[in-house]
């Protein structure tokens, strides 16, 4: 009897097990009904589950009963969770997964931006590209001049973007405006940027329609992001070239100190220069960088640099033709920048804050005239970002910044100075309506104490993907800029200058080839104009006439960019063409005309090739810029001459070798190989009857040097060498 009972018990138990097993079947598709082979389905907390087959179908059995949770996962789709009550017998369940917003399907806002970052998917230019570009002299702004939207202006530093003058472009490092991004200007001698491209992990060059996070630039912002802490290694780098010596030491990845001495004598001794130096440029520089991650979710960066440079040159006198006067300058510059970033709540919140202080003193003597300048800027910035949505693809940003600016200038009998307290608040949201449609909406409010004015600037960007590789993007917005200090010294009753931008962009990226075309329309209002008795084309004059905001103008045009890394192995080619139609009434222009810095056509070809067997890279850059207008002294601007087109062919090569933990690079660059005699404009004598041409410091230049690094080399893959300089 007992045995029988046991048997019954066992049989029923077995039977109930069989009864209790449920067969689950179904199909997994996306929203469009496309099947998803390989999708993973499981009952949470158990091993029970299956992979979807080629038809998107799955089948499995489970002992689970009652309420269970099904979890479905697949790469490229948002995970889906669904509750169901299981009884016995067969169950059919179908699931629909939603595509996640990811690098493969998502559109990216591209109008007006030219990313050179290595972080983003839409990479177009990388930091290494800057140093390997022939004709770019490893200078960030010089290389940016080969990009669409930039106007080549040979006689002065700065970025002239789409009809805008150089002071309409701001350089921003980690969110902080850089007061003096270039070495102090000397008349008609273009200066280099103060920062080496290797300091930055990414460079984004905006040609307009930029984010509400930045302001005070009518045309463009150059956004530079400093390197993060990348290793714990120590290394030493020594550099010697025709223009000086430098040494840099990094200790255990977190602190770096650099010293540099610049002297152009060896460089100039090899050249026939067009400049008459009384004292060859000589500079001393020192910098410290600290890069530490106090916790896994936070980072701290500190950068401080001091430079002292001197030069003196004899310039053609504008007062008496054929005579010369001495222009001497001693520049001292301090720039410091500290930033702290922390992520919390699983990276959903990001807090960034920064402080920066800069001080610049120029002791300038023009003949006997004292023309000293000084400026000081203290700024603070705090930004809070909240990421939301599946995959944290959407964001909302709140931020504010404050600047205390002190500037002054002595010029002969004038001794002027001004204080300005500038503050701004901004908010911006970037979100996906669908993977194909993204929007960025922002608003920025500013107050400038020196003119006692507020402004509110809206910004909008949209992007829509039209195919697997192609997309359209639109950017529009209003941009304000406080009038230049040279006008504010004598007149505080001025208002902001205003530019409205509309930009439409089409981009196709496929197989390492990029094609991009962008059209733009820019309207200028409230530009500062100065009433003078006669027109003086000298750009270095100090404005003393009556000023107001009655200037206006426009800039419209388009640019085309093509990059090919695919067709020839180990080669990289960029072709850029920009068309610009612009007129403006501003500065001391008596009427609305095309400004003398603007050129209608800008064309350039940048090519690079790596010779694998020789460990050598070679680069060739060709650029052609159509003539710029020359307005005579006293001109009514109705008649003008054009300079002859600017043309330049440059060459650069480098050879490298690693021996144990030593790494050596030899480099050589030749600028203007053909020795073309480019002219950028003319400077006039006061009677307007005589003029001298503005020409480059030298027609053809040679530059070479060596860089030697000692320290542990992190593994460098074969492909990394392709663009290595």
């Amino acid at each position: 009897m007992k045995q029988l009972l046991l048997i019954i018990l066992l049989v029923t138990a077995g039977f109930s097990v069989a009864l209790g097993q449920a067969n689950i079947k179904g199909k997994i598709t996306d929203r469009k009904g496309e099947v998803l082979p390989g999708a993973n389905i499981q009952i949470e907390g158990t091993y029970d589950g299956a992979s979807a087959d080629e038809k998107g179908e799955f089948a499995f059995t489970t002992d689970s009963k009652g309420e269970v949770v099904f979890k479905i996962t697949m790469i490229g789709y948002n995970p889906s969770v669904k509750k169901a009550t299981l009884g016995t017998g067969d169950v059919r369940l179908d699931f629909v997964l939603e595509e996640s917003i990811n690098a493969l399907n998502a559109v990216v806002i591209t109008a007006g931006t030219f990313e050179a970052s290595d972080e983003k998917k839409m990479v177009m230019l990388k930091p290494m590209d800057i140093v390997t570009t022939a004709g770019g002299a490893a200078d960030i702004a010089s290389v940016m001049q080969f990009l669409p939207g930039a106007n080549r202006v040979g006689e002065t530093e700065g970025l002239f973007v789409r009809g805008g003058s150089a002071n309409e472009t701001k350089t921003v490092i980690d969110g902080m405006i850089v007061q003096n991004p270039f070495f102090s200007s000397t008349p008609d001698v273009p200066q280099r940027g103060r920062f080496t491209p290797f300091m930055f992990k990414g460079t984004a060059f905006s040609t307009g329609g930029y984010s509400a996070q930045y302001g005070q630039a009518l045309s463009s912002v150059l956004l530079l992001q400093t390197q993060d802490k990348i290793s714990e290694e120590s290394n030493l780098n020594l550099n010697a070239n025709l223009a000086g010596l430098s040494a840099s030491y990094t200790h255990k990845g977190w602190i770096n100190g650099s010293l540099s001495y610049t002297n152009l004598s060896p460089f100039l001794s090899l050249l026939k220069t067009n400049i008459d130096f009384d004292k060859v440029p000589e500079a001393f520089g020192a910098s410290v960088t600290i890069n530490e991650n106090p916790t896994k979710n936070s980072s701290f960066k500190l950068y401080g640099t001091y430079t002292d440079n001197q030069s003196a040159l004899r310039l053609n006198s504008y007062d008496e033709f054929n005579s010369k006067y001495l222009f001497s300058m001693n520049n001292r510059n301090i720039f410091t920048n500290a930033s702290y970033q922390v992520n919390f709540d699983e990276g959903k919140w990001i807090f960034q804050s920064g402080m920066s202080y800069s001080k610049n003193n120029d002791r300038i003597r023009m003949d006997q005239t004292n023309a000293d300048r000084h400026d000081e800027r203290t700024q603070g910035r705090a930004v809070l970002t909240r990421l939301f949505g599946a995959g944290k693809n959407n964001s909302i940003v709140f931020g504010s910044e404050f600047h205390a600016i002190r500037v002054g200038n002595i010029y002969g009998g004038y001794d002027v100075s001004l204080k300005d307290n500038y503050s701004a608040v901004f908010t911006e949201s970037e979100f996906y309506v669908s993977p194909k449609l993204a929007a960025r909406v922002g608003l920025r409010g500013e107050y400038t104490s020196v003119i006692d004015e507020f402004n509110v600037a809206p910004r909008l960007s949209l992007a829509y993907k039209v195919g697997k590789y192609a997309q359209f993007s639109l950017a529009a917005g209003r941009f304000y800029q406080t009038p230049d200090k040279n006008y504010l010294y004598l007149n505080r009753n001025l208002d902001y200058e205003i530019a409205d931008h509309v930009i439409l962009n089409y981009q196709l990226i496929k197989n390492d080839r990029t094609f991009r075309v962008e059209a733009f329309n820019k309207n200028y209002r409230n530009l500062i104009t100065e009433k003078t008795d006669f027109f003086d084309p000298n750009p270095y004059r100090f404005p003393t006439g009556k000023t107001d905001n009655s200037g206006e103008g426009y800039a419209k045009g388009f640019d085309v960019f093509f990059r090919d890394k695919k067709s020839v192995k180990n080669a990289d080619l960029w072709v850029t063409y920009s068309f610009l139609d612009t007129e403006r009434k501003f500065q001391n222009y008596p009427s609305r005309v095309t400004p003398s810095f603007a050129s209608k056509h800008n064309f350039s070809v940048v090519s690079k090739y790596f010779l694998e067997k020789l460990n050598t890279s070679v680069g060739l850059t060709y650029s052609l810029t159509s003539g710029r207008r020359i307005y005579d002294y006293g001109s009514d601007l109705k008649t003008y001459e054009l300079t002859k087109p600017y043309e330049n062919l440059s060459f650069a090569t480098s050879y490298f070798r690693a021996i144990k933990n030593h790494f050596v690079v030899f480099y050589l660059a030749v600028d203007n190989v053909l020795g073309r005699k480019n002219v950028f404009g003319y400077r006039y004598s006061p009677d307007g009857k005589q003029r001298t041409a503005v020409i480059p410091p030298a027609y053809r230049t040679f530059f070479f040097g060596v860089s030697w690094s000692i320290g542990k080399l992190d593994r460098i893959p074969k492909e990394a060498t392709l663009n290595f300089d």
Binding site: Y47, V123, A658, R715, P717, L722
Partner: protein, 213 residues
């Protein structure tokens, strides 16, 4: 007496449960781990990753299922040719790696995997990424050595680094071979902690050595 009984019963129940679970866990894992480690390079591991993912989600306290999910996706990222897809596969690998790391600290196998994952990211776009990810590979290798210098997969990875670095940059096959031979010596002495712990890499080391000659 009653409470004692309840206690004993509870003890029996938990023991029974863990006994019931462990053999199933071990048995399922054993089969899967062996399949993962013997699958020829070039065959997608995704179906096995799916199974492993289910185990990982059921066995929330175990680091090994998470390790193997990450491992499978790392391997699959090398098969994929599209750069964006590679990154998405590696995102998934990282998700499981992070789960494993949260469950087990000071683990040489996880450091080796971390180095391999950084290497996976690096090869997606070497020109842009060698600086960042090269440093991450080196840091993780350093950590692994501190924990267990005898792990043969460390030498294998170092050898691979040398193998793909051109001689002009201080790499090359002769230098790589030294590391691979060191790896083989370590493999000869190496015994995995269990049948479900990592033991992979000897075959690929043999292959590399054949390529170095």
């Amino acid at each position: 007496m009653k409470s004692k009984l309840v206690f004993v019963f509870a003890l029996l129940l938990t023991a029974a449960q863990s006994f019931a679970q462990n053999p199933a866990y071990l048995k399922t894992m054993e089969g899967l781990v062996s399949k993962i480690q013997t699958t020829q390079f070039g065959t997608p591991l995704q179906p096995l990753a799916n199974q492993m993912e289910r185990i990982a989600s059921a066995e929330k306290g175990e680091w090994l299922p998470n390790y193997w999910v990450a491992f499978c996706y790392l391997r699959d990222s090398y098969i994929e040719t599209d750069a964006a897809k590679k990154d998405m596969i590696l995102d998934k690998a990282d998700e499981y790696f992070n789960k494993a790391e949260a469950l087990s600290q000071n683990n040489d196998e996880l450091e080796v995997l971390k180095a391999n994952l950084a290497n996976g990211r690096l090869v997606v776009s070497p020109q842009d990424r060698w600086q960042t990810y090269g440093a991450k590979v080196a840091a993780a290798i350093g950590n692994a050595k501190k924990i267990n210098a005898e792990n043969p997969r460390i030498s294998l990875l170092e050898g691979e680094g040398m193998f793909y670095t051109p001689e002009a940059f201080g790499g090359g096959k002769p230098k790589a071979k030294v590391f691979f031979e060191k790896a083989l010596e370590k493999y000869a002495k190496f015994t995995p902690k269990s049948s479900i712990h990592p033991s992979w890499g000897k075959e690929i080391t043999d292959w590399y050595i054949s390529q170095c000659n």
